[in-house]
Amino acid sequence: MNIVVCCKQVPDPEAPPASFKIDAAANKVAPAPGVNQVISPFDEQAIEAALRIKDGQESTVRVISMGTDLVSDVVKKPLAMGADELYLIQDEALNDGDGISTAYALATAIKKIGEYDLIICGRQAADWDVGQTGVGIAEELGIACVTVAKKVEVVDGKVRVERVVADGYEVVEVPLPAVVTVSNELGEPRYATLKGIMGAAKKQATVMSAADIGADTAKTGKAGAKSKLLKLYIPVREGKCEMIEAEDPAEAGALLAQKLREAKVL
């Protein structure tokens, strides 16, 4: 089983919002000093999904990360968790893309690095939260895609996915090769181990440019983007506090539930 996992390096989403600044002139998020770079959490769960399959059957897990500012101890984490190979696609021509141009670049890279049976991505990246890349890769490769998975199994040459829906989950089975995007309901990703870290330190990532993967740079990065960012801003948050008055806790609870339903929180 050849599994490819796409992992994106992002600024730590747990960092306080005040750490992030907007460069209004460039319409970009200004680099936030002191904010660590991490693997996007949904992508870590994608690694976990791949490793669970590998735990049960012989598999090779290849990881692809894309970007020009990649931090080696961050992007090597999947290797320390148990992945086999790491490919870094680094080229200025791939920067500032959207979900479509990123999906094109990743799909091109996936075709280049070898055989693939299953491609696993996080449901969305923790920086832009767009959630188009996984389905975009499937479109580029002309294969099936199942999104928002909570469980991924490979059975009899097919991938069987439990995918999250509003009131539970549904089971979907598609033939391989396929793309699956993974949600947090999959569960906690495993820790890197010391053995994994020592092994990762000895492994060299394969670094590839746009030319190396055979990408048409008219379709990558900003040049290939199909969407246009009009304005980037931090929304102003206003807190409102409403006291619920009731005769007893049970009534207060019921009234609170009613309010939350009205606000469409529940």
């Binding site: 080696s72 101890d73 961050v74 090597k76 984490k77 320390a80 906690e188 820790y191 890197a192 181990t193 010391l194 053995k195 870290i197 020592m198 990762a200 330190a201």
Partner: protein
């Protein structure tokens, strides 16, 4: 001079930090209150290779370098000094003593299971009448043909009630003082070995500190580590290692104080402004941070010297004395910054204060380290 950590060291920091946040921090408060030994945490650490981190791969360890090992202890110490204490006793007093001084047979017999966390170890020099002056050890080991028979009382043995083996420093000939000492591996299921957990400690409450009674405790002859007369060296080298770990753990505790204080003064508003806008509050946090950075650099230098195989006793003493005292000052200031909230166990600061107080005493008091540093500086022994 290069102040950058390498890729492995950074990955170790990230991994242990993540582990400690998720597995150690959630129960640290309750474990302290209930004096609960962290058995489950140790099992999880073993699964990640942490219980044998600096033990060479040929003996089932991970072969971690000294600086990475210090960083691992620092990140554990950020969340719990008690877990730190347990781990450093097992690795740096127990396993690394066998690694440095043990025979090939002893290394093969014990180290793989110690690295895997299947054998937990302790180590003890201290006795009711013997603290820093270990040449005065009274516990006796008598040669009895194919066995050693040990009699005496030991105290403050970390892991003593939970360990599978304890390395005991004992006297074989009182007239020889330090030159008569030996280091003996005592399986804790040996007849004549009994351990009693000590209660009522101010800090490190979920770390096991035990009194050990040895009553005609017979062990095989091959359980002597090294030779008779090397017990003093075994103990001193163990102290060099564990003092490094105590220092590293204290840096972690101090960093927790800095981070908690910085967060609190940003959130807390008094007199219509953030606490951080009061200059005297900022002063306390600045002092804390600088002391933390200074302590960390002392620890990392000691670690680099150990890795290079260079003498490091004085540098380790400096790191241990400074880091633990700085952590105590930092915890005191962090409580002050938090006001009455810091005085409760709703926040971890009062626990840190109690825990790091122990760190200024164990493995050589601050005063002993000043004397060691003073003797090296002046060439005059003052003790």
């Amino acid at each position: 001079m290069d102040f950058e950590l390498n890729e492995t060291q950074l990955m170790v920091r990230t991994m242990v930090k993540d582990f400690a946040e998720k597995e150690v921090a959630p129960t640290a408060r309750e474990d302290d209150i209930n004096e609960t030994f962290p058995t489950e945490i140790l099992k999880k650490m073993a699964a990640l290779g942490l219980m044998g981190a600096p033990i060479p791969e040929e003996y089932g360890g991970m072969g971690l370098d000294w600086l990475s090992y210090g960083i691992m202890i620092e990140e554990l110490g950020y969340q719990s000094q008690a877990v730190c204490s347990t781990v450093r006793a097992h690795i740096s007093l127990g396993a690394q003593s066998i690694l440095q001084w043990g025979s090939d047979e002893q290394k093969k017999k014990y180290l793989p299971d110690m690295a895997a966390g299947k054998i937990l170890s302790g180590f003890v020099t201290t006795e009711p009448n013997v603290g820093s002056d270990i040449a005065g050890i009274e516990c006796m080991a008598v040669d009895d043909g194919d066995s050693w028979i040990l009699n005496g009382t030991k105290t403050w043995c970390t892991n003593g009630s939970n360990a599978d083996i304890v390395i005991v420093i004992a006297q074989t000939d009182k007239s020889l003082k330090g030159r008569g000492l030996g280091a003996f591996i005592i399986p804790t299921d040996s007849k004549g070995y009994s351990a009693h957990a000590m209660h009522g400690k101010m800090g490190l409450r979920s770390s096991d500190s035990s009194e050990i009674a040895l009553e005609d405790c017979r062990i095989p002859k091959e359980n002597l580590i090294g030779k008779i007369g090397e017990g003093f060296k075994v103990a001193m080298s163990a102290f060099d290692r564990t003092r490094y770990c105590v220092a590293a753990g204290a840096v972690g505790a101090l960093q927790q104080c800095v981070d908690a204080s910085a967060k609190y003064v940003a959130d807390r508003v008094q007199f219509g402004k953030q606490l951080g806008q009061f200059q005297l509050v900022q002063e306390m946090i600045s002092e804390m941070r600088v002391e933390c950075e200074a302590a960390r650099l002392l620890v990392y230098r000691a670690g680099c010297l150990k890795e290079a195989g260079k003498p490091n006793t004085i540098e380790t003493s400096m790191a241990k004395w400074y880091s633990t005292e700085a952590a105590f000052r930092g915890a005191n200031n962090a409580i002050q910054v938090h006001g009455s909230y810091g005085y409760t166990n709703e926040y971890p600061l009062e626990r840190i204060l109690r825990d790091v107080k122990a760190c200024t005493i164990l493995e050589g008091t601050s005063q002993m380290h000043k004397l060691i540093i003073g003797r090296d500086t002046t060439g005059i022994a003052a003790f």
